[in-house]
Structures are given as structure tokens and as C-alpha cells.
């Protein structure tokens, strides 16, 4: 019983990562109709926004400490972060500690900017092109973005911890009267879950309570006619892409403490997020979110030993098995709309 | 007993009764026109005949066999071809290729892995297709990319694709809509000629009364999903109800 509860909780937060990534992807893929293989890269860029902020905050000047030596026997250079010397170690240290949450402020404009540039410079020309061409160009873009990041940050993961206040875990089991340590849950993952909920809610509200969503859907179905009705659809598409990029970026920035960012983390998520979006059903935001949580939870269950011993290797393939079953029983995924990307 | 017997067909779309208790009998080797106001259910009826829709109740018999529950391609193989209201052609292919496909479909059935074809068999199909294009006056356009033709041309092409299959029952959904008058007249002539040359039954939906009255042997008027009257063209023309509900001053 507690194992089930435990894995459900776990699945929830894994699910919130999937859901958040899939949400951004479905805005581009399910709404704008662009098969965006660079979405994973946008997620990765988001995570590197967090890395960048923490690097900027720890940007240091060097002073030579003649009493100590470095590994080659030369006098040791001691580094002090500028922020610490400007704002004093107390506040400066706190800034450094809170680098990841602060990076949200940085990631939003940066990711919107990147989204803008990518859409205006590249994607714009590909709305009318076949999906295959979109794949080629966005895949190329993903590689380039990755390589650029690799060039500056290296291939190795870069630890980007959460603020000290969120370190450690919460004993959920004790709260509901189970024995200690039965169900523990890291604080930062709770933060991530709530963060995801807020973002998902905000995007839903924006698309639900404005005509924006309808216009973009219409524009995707028939750009020409929407133009005839006086709507500058290009602008809407750009905005949509910017939002999607920002959602992906925020998902990535906040994810940095969960897994240290590396340059190929986007590719690791790419396939999975496509599966999530498609299982959710093309063009459906609730579908993407639902599928994200569902697959997250199922994946958690599949990693339980009781289940693995019954079906060896099930945790390796669970996502795909579920995807196949759902797509075969529900032609358009969980909540897909008819005619969206079916040809 | 007609070649096509529709009995008690009902079709609902959500709250809308698109077809209610439709009975229709089309006699072999006649042209049967179905007219009626917009949204009367004419296209829906055709959809039920070709397997695009399945009626909620009722039966559709073609030549003594039920078409219900069969897939569109099976129904076509029974000898029913259809021209759609908005042209359905193979847009990325050339005009000639568009016509060749039904030629092969007629010869080979629903599926054949004919990756290798003999020269003579190939030629036979090619000749057949070219003959058809000549009939519809499109030989000079045979290498054109069919999607970039004007609408009138697309309609003519689609008709050629259906005719080349030599169907026993040809269903035409507004075949001359958007066609220039000259082409409309050509089409009328073509259909008449085909009818004379071959055993063929046609069911035609058309709002252009000139076409209807030139071709039809019998007319069914459909209104709000039910047949209003069925009669000869002369009688329909004078039918007061039909004049009021449908023809207006055109008659």
C-alpha cells in the first residue's frame, strides 16, 4: 500500500516534468503544426539559463594567496564572487544560493527572445513545408544549439543545486501516520510540482479565456483565410512560439537542481515528450498534461521491484507499451482532435 | 426492382435528423436526379451509398446485394463510382496518372503487387486512359500537375476518373458546379453519349436545373431529409410545392 502511494507521488513529480515539457511541445507541435525536434534543446537551454545565472552570480575575481599553493606548486589563486564583495557575504551568499529560482527572471526574457529569433528567422518559413522538412531543419537547429552549449559549458553535467532551504526531504509518511521514512519526498520536487501546476494553469487560462487559442488553431488550419479576416497570423504564431519556448525554458530552469544539466539532456527528453504529446492527442493541451502525468505514474509503478520481477525489463519499455496500447485503442490518443496531423 | 434500392434509411448527426426514412429506387440504365434545398441531405444520402457513412437504420441494396458494412473500396469494386461535391483527385499526380489509377483498379481489383508490368499490358492501360482524356477534352493537359488546374478542370478530371472505371452506377454530386457554361454543355453531352453507348445508371445531384432537365429520366426531391416527391422532370417542374421550396423563379 505505502509502496503504491510512494510511487504515485513519485510519478506525480516525474509527470509534472513530462507534462510541462509536453505542454510546450504541444503548443508548437499540436497547435502550430510544426514538428519541432528542437524542443528538447529549448528545454536544455532553459536549464542552462539556470546554470548561467549561477555562473554569473559566482563570477569571481582572483587574489593570490601566497601562503597556499595549487596543484602545480604555484601560489594559489583564491576566488571571491563579485556579488559577495559588492553586497557582502551575507546577502551575496543568499543570492548565489537562490540562483535557480532567480534564474526564472532571467529565463523568461531570454527564452522568449530565443523563441522570437528562432521563429522569425527559421520556423516561419516552414509552416507550409512538409513535416519532414520541419524535422530536418529543427533537428539541425537542435544539434547546433547543443553544440554551442557544449562548446561553452562542456559535455559533463554541471551541478546546479536548489537553495539550501529546499534541500532534504519531507517525511510524507509521518504526516499521514505511517512509520518514519516510509514515504519521503524531496522539497524541491514539491516545489517543482507546484510550479508546474501554476504554469499549466496560466497557459490554460491564457488560451481558454482569450480568443488567442482559437485564432492560432484557425491559423494553423488555414493561414490564408485567417489573413483574409484581417488577422496578422504571423504575429500570433510568433507569440505562440515565444510562449512555448518560455514554457520549455522554465521547465528546464527549474529542473536543473533535480538533474544536473548537460548539453544533451534535451535529446534525452525529446522522444519521450513526443510520445507524451501524441498519446495525449494532437492539439489537446489537457491531453498532453493528462498523458504526462499518466505516463509518469505508470513509469514509476513499472520500476517497482514486485512488478519488475514479474515482467523483467518492463521499466525499460513501459512508456512505449502504454503508448502502443493507447494509440491502438484510441485512434487519436487520449483527447486528440480530429484531423490534426493525421496526414 | 431497381438496380439501387434504398429502404427506410435514417441518419442522425447529433440533434439533427439528416435523413429520415428515405426510400429510393433507381431503375437500371436511367438517370435519376436528386434535387432539394441546401442541407436537405442529398450528399449525406450519397455518403450512405458509398460507405462513407453508415445509416443508423435501413437498407441499401445494389444489384441485389447489400452495400452496408462494406468498405468504400469494396463498394466501388461492386461497380459504384462517385464524383464528389468538392473535387477529390490525386493532386500531386499528373492528369494522366490520375486517370491511370482507376484503369488499374478496374483491372486488378483492390490490391495487386504489380511491381512489374508487361509492355503490352502497360500500353493497353495507357491507351484506355488517353481515350478517356480525349473524351473529356483534356489530352493537352495530361502532363499537368492536377492540383494546379482550375476548378472546372478538376471536376472534369474527376468525372473522367470515374467514367474510365465503366461503373454500373455513377453517382454525381453537383458535377457541373463552377463549370463554365460551355463545359457544362459538354458535360451534358458527354454523359448523354456515355449513357447511349453503355449500360450505365446515374444518380445525379445538381442545383443547375438546365443540367437536371437535360439529363434526368426521373427526379426525386429531397427536403429536410425526406423525399418530398418523385416524378418525371415535366411533372416536377410544375409541382407547386417544389417550386416554392426549391426552384424559386428558376423553373
Amino acid at each position: 500500500m505505502d509502496a503504491i502511494l510512494l510511487q504515485t507521488l513519485n510519478g506525480l513529480d516525474k509527470g509534472s516534468a513530462y507534462a510541462l515539457i509536453a505542454l510546450g511541445l504541444t503548443l508548437i507541435f499540436g497547435t502550430l503544426g510544426v514538428v519541432n525536434f528542437a524542443h528538447g534543446a529549448l528545454f536544455m537551454l532553459g536549464a542552462f539559463c539556470a546554470v548561467t545565472v549561477s555562473k554569473l552570480l559566482t563570477l569571481s575575481f582572483e587574489t593570490v594567496d601566497p601562503t597556499r599553493v595549487d596543484f602545480l606548486g604555484n601560489p594559489l589563486k583564491v576566488k571571491t564572487a563579485y556579488v559577495e564583495s559588492w553586497f557582502g557575504p551575507e546577502f551575496g551568499g543568499a543570492l548565489i544560493d537562490w540562483a535557480v529560482p532567480l534564474s526564472i527572471l532571467f529565463a523568461i526574457p531570454v527564452m522568449i527572445g530565443i523563441g522570437y529569433v528562432v521563429e522569425r528567422g527559421l520556423i516561419k518559413h516552414f509552416y507550409k513545408r512538409p513535416h519532414a522538412d520541419q524535422i530536418l531543419v529543427t533537428f539541425g537547429l537542435a544539434i547546433v544549439l547543443q553544440e554551442v552549449v557544449k562548446y561553452f559549458f562542456g559535455a559533463n553535467p554541471i551541478p546546479t543545486p536548489a537553495p539550501d532551504a529546499f534541500k532534504g526531504s519531507f517525511d510524507f509518511g509521518a504526516l499521514i501516520g505511517m512509520e518514519a521514512n516510509a514515504i519521503i519526498y524531496p522539497y524541491w520536487r514539491m516545489v517543482y510540482f507546484f510550479f508546474a501546476a501554476v504554469i499549466i494553469g496560466a497557459v490554460f487560462a491564457f488560451l481558454q479565456f482569450t480568443t488567442f487559442g482559437m485564432v492560432v488553431r484557425a491559423g494553423m488550419a488555414d493561414r490564408e483565410t485567417v489573413g483574409l479576416l484581417g488577422i496578422n497570423i504571423d504575429k500570433k504564431f510568433t507569440i505562440m512560439f515565444g510562449i512555448a519556448a518560455a514554457v520549455a525554458g522554465l521547465a528546464g530552469a527549474m529542473y536543473a537542481p533535480i538533474n544536473s544539466p548537460n548539453y544533451h539532456m534535451g535529446m534525452d527528453f525529446l522522444v519521450l515528450s513526443f510520445v507524451v504529446v501524441v498519446v495525449g492527442g494532437m492539439g489537446s493541451l489537457p491531453g498532453a498534461v493528462l498523458a504526462g502525468f499518466m505516463l509518469g505514474i505508470l513509469e514509476s509503478f513499472a520500476s517497482m521491484n514486485a512488478i519488475k520481477s514479474l515482467l523483467p525489463g518492463i521499466d525499460q519499455i513501459i512508456i512505449y507499451v502504454v503508448a502502443i496500447i493507447i494509440l491502438l485503442t484510441r485512434p487519436r490518443g487520449l483527447m486528440g482532435r480530429k484531423g490534426v496531423m493525421e496526414d | 426492382m431497381g438496380i439501387l434500392e434504398v429502404k427506410g434509411v435514417n441518419k442522425r448527426f447529433g440533434g439533427l435528423q439528416a435523413l429520415s426514412n428515405v426510400n429510393l429506387s433507381v431503375q437500371e440504365n436511367t438517370v435519376h436526379a436528386i434535387i432539394g434545398p441546401n442541407g436537405a441531405g442529398k450528399s449525406t444520402l450519397l455518403n450512405c451509398l458509398v460507405g462513407k457513412l453508415i445509416p443508423d437504420t435501413g437498407s441499401v441494396m445494389f444489384d441485389g446485394q447489400s452495400v452496408l458494412g462494406r468498405k468504400p473500396h469494396e463498394i466501388n469494386q461492386m461497380g459504384i463510382s462517385r464524383v464528389f461535391q468538392t473535387p477529390e483527385i490525386f493532386g500531386d499526380l499528373t492528369v494522366l496518372e490520375n486517370v491511370l489509377i482507376p484503369c488499374f483498379a478496374r483491372r486488378d481489383g483492390a490490391f495487386r503487387l504489380h511491381a512489374f508490368e508487361t509492355v503490352s499490358a502497360e500500353k493497353e492501360m495507357m491507351d484506355k486512359a488517353m481515350q478517356m482524356l480525349e473524351d473529356v477534352n483534356m489530352v493537352s493537359k495530361r502532363h499537368m500537375h492536377s492540383a494546379s488546374m482550375s476548378r472546372g478542370d478538376k471536376r472534369r478530371l474527376e468525372m473522367a476518373m470515374c467514367l474510365v472505371q465503366e461503373p454500373r452506377l455513377l453517382l454525381l454530386d453537383e458535377p457541373t458546379a463552377g463549370m463554365a457554361r460551355a463545359d457544362t454543355n459538354n458535360t451534358i453531352d458527354l454523359l448523354k453519349e456515355i449513357k447511349e453507348k453503355r449500360d450505365i445508371t446515374m444518380a445525379i445531384i445538381e442545383h443547375d436545373m438546365h443540367v437536371v432537365f437535360s439529363l434526368a429520366d426521373r427526379i426525386t426531391v429531397l427536403a429536410q431529409g425526406t423525399p418530398l416527391v418523385e416524378d418525371t422532370p415535366e411533372n416536377i417542374k410544375g409541382h407547386p410545392k417544389v417550386r416554392e421550396a426549391y426552384l424559386g423563379e428558376a423553373a
Binding site: 505505502d2 509502496a3 510512494l6 510511487q7 507521488l9 513519485n10 510519478g11 513529480d13 516525474k14 516534468a17 597556499r68 595549487d70 596543484f71 602545480l72 594559489l76 557544449k150 562542456g154 559535455a155 559533463n156 553535467p157 554541471i158 551541478p159 543545486p161 534541500k167 532534504g168 526531504s169 521514512n181 516510509a182 514515504i183 519521503i184 524531496p186 524541491w188 520536487r189 537542481p257 533535480i258 538533474n259 544536473s260 548537460n262 544533451h264 539532456m265 534525452d268 527528453f269 513509469e299 514509476s300 520500476s303 517497482m304 521491484n305 519488475k308 525489463g313 521499466d315 525499460q316 | -
Partner: protein
């Protein structure tokens, strides 16, 4: 024999991961290779050539031939690695291939070199199989292996954490993970530990929370992470996030062990590594003459200390060159003969034996611990114990290594 050097130079093939998750390891290996070539050709300060016990090399290339090299990208995929190695052999006339990023790749390339008739000097590969069931006459491994990690770690673990511990293994679900799991479990059980559970995790996993969450509940009080690379960084980070290290289980402090450490991974895991035990092949913090010489020339050239991947790469290059010089021939069979049973010192690991039976090097193994107060950004691991070579040795037919045979050396063509 294949690719016999005819002109004034001889070509080595450095086949390392340049793209993909291990690209940084690959880059460090490559740095070491270039340094080795420099030293062989008599440039630079000579590095470990000066401390190496064998004096057959004069710093004028090998047998008077200048050393040249080509590089390639394994992408950490068997296929790509073999393609790259083949191009070095077929196109560039490489006579020796070295490199590696994972055991799968090393075994695959070793097999290729055996068939093609060139020497393979494996670098980063830790699986028992490389010199166990998949050993080849043309292949040699300087790096240590999973068995040795277990043999070195277990006593230290027992001493530190006591002998009635209950271990929970998380293991990357592929060949290397399995051999390491087997080795560590066997070694710790010999000291009285109990293995509660062995859980396999998919290689592609990035979030290990669902594997880590049940650990506390299982009654285990030690978590052993048989992971490497990104897997290890993530699983360790996740484990620390879940607060495992702050818990008391069975009245004991909960502990985490990462049997195979590397400097780059320690960097990737950041703070989480502090106090955690693991093993390495070598460390730049050693104080022997060889190490000091190597760290000096590497550090001077590149500005930071070498990783243990770099050291094994450097050593393998020197060892090959030296074997050629001692044999007086580039013929792979002569080189094999020269390397088999070769005893040497001065390459940073103390006295070392290249065992003839399986082409595995035997030397001391380091037990390392994440440092609590690093003095600088490279000072992440500290040496806890230097396990003497005798303690990590095993018989060539040890069951964990049984099943293969070296076959005969193949000079090719």
C-alpha cells in the same frame, strides 16, 4: 604484417568519444595522448618517460620513427567506434589503436583489432569482460576492473561502516553494470554484508526517483550505485535529494557508495559527492615521482590536473611504444610478446605487472572519498586508502573472468 610503417613515421589511432555524454572524458584522454606523443618524439619535458622504469625509449620517436597520430570519434557506440577504428586502420595506416569510453565499445574495438591484426591498448574500460570472457591476444588493458574495485573497496567499507550492513544495489542495466554489481556484491558479502536487493535501472533513465524512493523502506542501510557517467551523477543527486544521507536506518547512519569514481563525474555531482567512497585507477594527488612528473607536464600544458582517464591513456601509449622499442619491431606479435608478463614502475601506479594470461595490468587500487573541503575546483576526491596489488589480484580463471580465451596474436595481412 598489417600497416607496417615504411616511411619515417608511425601512426597511432586515438579513438575516443568526442561527441555524446562522454565527450569530456574523451577530450581528456586525447589531451593525454597528445602529450604522450609529444614526449615520445622528444618534445616537452618528457613527463613520465623520465620516471618510467624501462629505458628503451630515447625520445626520438619509436625505433627512430616519428610518432604521428590520427583521432576519431567513437560516439560511445560500438558501431561508430568500429567504423572509426577501421578508417584509422584502412585509411590512415594506424598500427595501434587506443581509446575507449565504455566496456562495450572497448570489447567491440578490441575484437576488430584482433581481426585486423593491430594492437589495441584499451583505455577507459572497467568491465571484467574486457580481460575476461572477451579478452583478445591483440588487446591490453592498463585500467583496473570491477573485480579490483570490489576487492579494494570491501575492506575499507567494512572498516568504516561495520560488517553487519545491508546493501541495496542500483545497477545500470547492461554488461558493465552487471559485472560490477556481481563483483561488489561478492566482495562485500565476503565481509559479512548482506545484499538486500539488486535493482536494475534502464540506461536511458534520467530521473532515478522511483528507484531511490523505496530504498529506505527496504531495510537497507547502504546504497551502492553501480552507475557511471550521467547515470551516476543523476542517481547520486537524486539520492541526496531524497535525503538518504541524513537518515538513520537500523540504528546506523545511511551510506551511499559509488564503486567506480571519476574526477569528471565528481565534478558533475558537485556537493553531493562529499564523503562518499569509491575507487579509482589513479589520482593526480598521489605523491610518487611518476605522478608528479605527469601532473606537472600535463598541468603546465593544459592548466588543470589530469583525470585518471588521462593517466591510463598516457600510460598505454608509453607502454606500447616501449614494447615496440624493446622488441625492436612493430610486428604485433612481437609487441604482444614484449608486453606479456612485463613488469614496470614509474607510471604513477607503483610496480605494475602486465599479466601474460589475460593482458590485464595488476597494480595498486585507490579507494577515494569525496572531499569535504576542497581547496580548489579540481580537488574533489581524496585518497582514503591505497589497496596493495596483492589484495586485488585474482586467478586468470576466476569464475568472473572465465569463458573466453586470448586466442593467438594476429599480425594481420
Amino acid at each position: 604484417f598489417t600497416n607496417e610503417p615504411t616511411g619515417g613515421s608511425v601512426t597511432f589511432g586515438f579513438n575516443v568519444p568526442q561527441t555524446g555524454p562522454y565527450a569530456d572524458e574523451g577530450a581528456d584522454e586525447l589531451r593525454a595522448y597528445e602529450l604522450a606523443v609529444e614526449h615520445l618524439n622528444g618534445d616537452g619535458d618528457g613527463g613520465m618517460l623520465n620516471t618510467f622504469s624501462s629505458k628503451a625509449l630515447q625520445g626520438n620517436g619509436i625505433l627512430g620513427k616519428k610518432v604521428d597520430f590520427v583521432t576519431g570519434d567513437t560516439q560511445t557506440k560500438s558501431d561508430a567506434a568500429r567504423a572509426s577504428a577501421k578508417s584509422m586502420i584502412e585509411k590512415d595506416g594506424a598500427i595501434m589503436i587506443t581509446g575507449g569510453s565504455s566496456s562495450g565499445v572497448a570489447v567491440a574495438v578490441q575484437g576488430l583489432c584482433q581481426e585486423a591484426g593491430v594492437i589495441f591498448m584499451a583505455a577507459l574500460t572497467h568491465s571484467n569482460d574486457t580481460t575476461g570472457k572477451d579478452k583478445k591476444a591483440n588487446g591490453f588493458r592498463h585500467f583496473f576492473n570491477a573485480y579490483m574495485s570490489g576487492a579494494a573497496l570491501a575492506p575499507v567499507l567494512a572498516k568504516r561502516y561495520g560488517s553487519d550492513r545491508r546493501a541495496y544495489h542500483l545497477t545500470a542495466d547492461y554488461t558493465w553494470g552487471w559485472t560490477q554489481e556481481e563483483s561488489i556484491a561478492a566482495a562485500t558479502e565476503a565481509f559479512g554484508w548482506e545484499t538486500v536487493e539488486k535493482v536494475r535501472t534502464p540506461l536511458a533513465a534520467t530521473d532515478f526517483s522511483s528507484y531511490i524512493a523505496p530504498v529506505l523502506n527496504s531495510g537497507a542501510d547502504v546504497l551502492i550505485l553501480n552507475h557511471y557517467g550521467g547515470n551516476m551523477v543523476n542517481s547520486l543527486t537524486n539520492a541526496v535529494q531524497f535525503g538518504l544521507r541524513d537518515k538513520m536506518v537500523n540504528g546506523k547512519q545511511f551510506e551511499i557508495v559509488v564503486p567506480l569514481y571519476s574526477e569528471l563525474m565528481a565534478k558533475g555531482a558537485g556537493e553531493n559527492i562529499k564523503g562518499i567512497l569509491g575507487s579509482t585507477n589513479w589520482s593526480w594527488t598521489l605523491q610518487d615521482e611518476g605522478t608528479k612528473a605527469f601532473v606537472k607536464s600535463f598541468g603546465t600544458k593544459y592548466g588543470f590536473p589530469p583525470s585518471n582517464a588521462a593517466q591510463t591513456s598516457y600510460a598505454q601509449t608509453i607502454l606500447y611504444a616501449d614494447a615496440v622499442a624493446r622488441a625492436g619491431s612493430f610486428n604485433p606479435c612481437a609487441v604482444v610478446e614484449a608486453l606479456e608478463g612485463f613488469e614496470f614502475d614509474g607510471l604513477g601506479n607503483g610496480p605494475t605487472l602486465y599479466r601474460a594470461e589475460d593482458h590485464q595490468c595488476f597494480k595498486d587500487v585507490l579507494v577515494m572519498q569525496g572531499k569535504e573541503n576542497p581547496a580548489n575546483e579540481y580537488d574533489l576526491l581524496e585518497i582514503v586508502d591505497i589497496t596493495p596489488r596483492a589484495q586485488v589480484e585474482y586467478a586468470p580463471d576466476h569464475p568472473m573472468f572465465a569463458g573466453g580465451s586470448l586466442g593467438k596474436c594476429n599480425p594481420g595481412a
